[in-house]
Symmetry: C2
Subunit: 159 residues, 2 copies
């Protein structure tokens, strides 16, 4: 059983699977970011449709992290991906990571990733993978501190 | 309806969703690679378990590509990932790409990616993403020619 709260620098944060009522705050957190600001919209309908797909598939876990006053402090989306390569290895893919500006620097990000890794291990994942925009140099240092290795080039193409 | 065959340099290749009987050949193709050789094993059991998980989830499409004599010429795993970020964008994730050494250089890889992108679009994906080992410089040039942009750093961590 994974813990549903984490304590960082004497502050307690509650972790939960996102529900639809979380969406406006989640989108606000995604947009509260130098790159996210230009990528996120105001119309909630596409987010609602995406949420229903995420929520309806047990391979995804969209996580909310709230402080004791209920303010959304962080989010990440965890996806389990089975695959043949690397000996039939299951991957834990981590997308859409945000820690609110008020909670940064206190260790919440690192604690959240520890939780995510334990979640992955408990479901049979043997490695975690994520990509981060090359402009996010702070994020690169953060992932390196957690033990992540920048072994791959991350490509994207608009369809 | 997506085409189930592609013609490259007057050679016809048949595309199909992988079945369990394809596994030994698929693993052989994954291992027939400078990096794959050290990553793949001989015991089929972990591959069978991974295959069953892939096959049981409609969000995945593990593809086999065979030439007209039935020889396996390529494979890739396509996964649709809904997400909140980027306006609730659905991603087409591409993993485990291999084109057999006998079929390389003739344009099969590019044709296969065209097929994959059409598959993604037909299922609502608005961008494709993949990562490739930084040592695969030929692959980087190949993806750049297809229009992919190397905007992201790809991190991995053993769990």
């Amino acid at each position: 059983m994974l813990p549903t709260s984490i304590t960082v620098a004497e502050q307690v944060f509650h972790l939960a699977k996102a529900v639809e009522a979380d969406l406006p705050e989640l989108v606000g957190l995604l947009a509260d970011d130098v790159l996210g600001a230009e990528r996120e919209g105001r119309d909630m309908q596409p987010y609602r449709m995406a949420f229903q797909e995420i929520d309806g598939d047990p391979q995804h876990c969209l996580l909310t992290v709230r402080d004791i006053s209920g303010v959304l402090a962080g989010t990440m989306q965890l996806t389990l991906i089975p695959g043949l390569s690397r000996g039939g290895a299951k991957r834990l893919q981590i997308e859409g990571v945000r820690v609110g500006s008020s909670a940064r620097g206190a260790g919440l990000g690192a604690a959240l990733f520890e939780w995510a890794h334990e979640y992955g291990r408990s479901r049979g994942a043997v490695f975690a993978q994520l990509t981060t925009d090359k402009r996010r140099s702070d994020a690169h240092r953060f992932y390196a501190r957690l033990g992540y290795e920048p072994t791959h080039e991350g490509f994207k193409l608009a369809l």
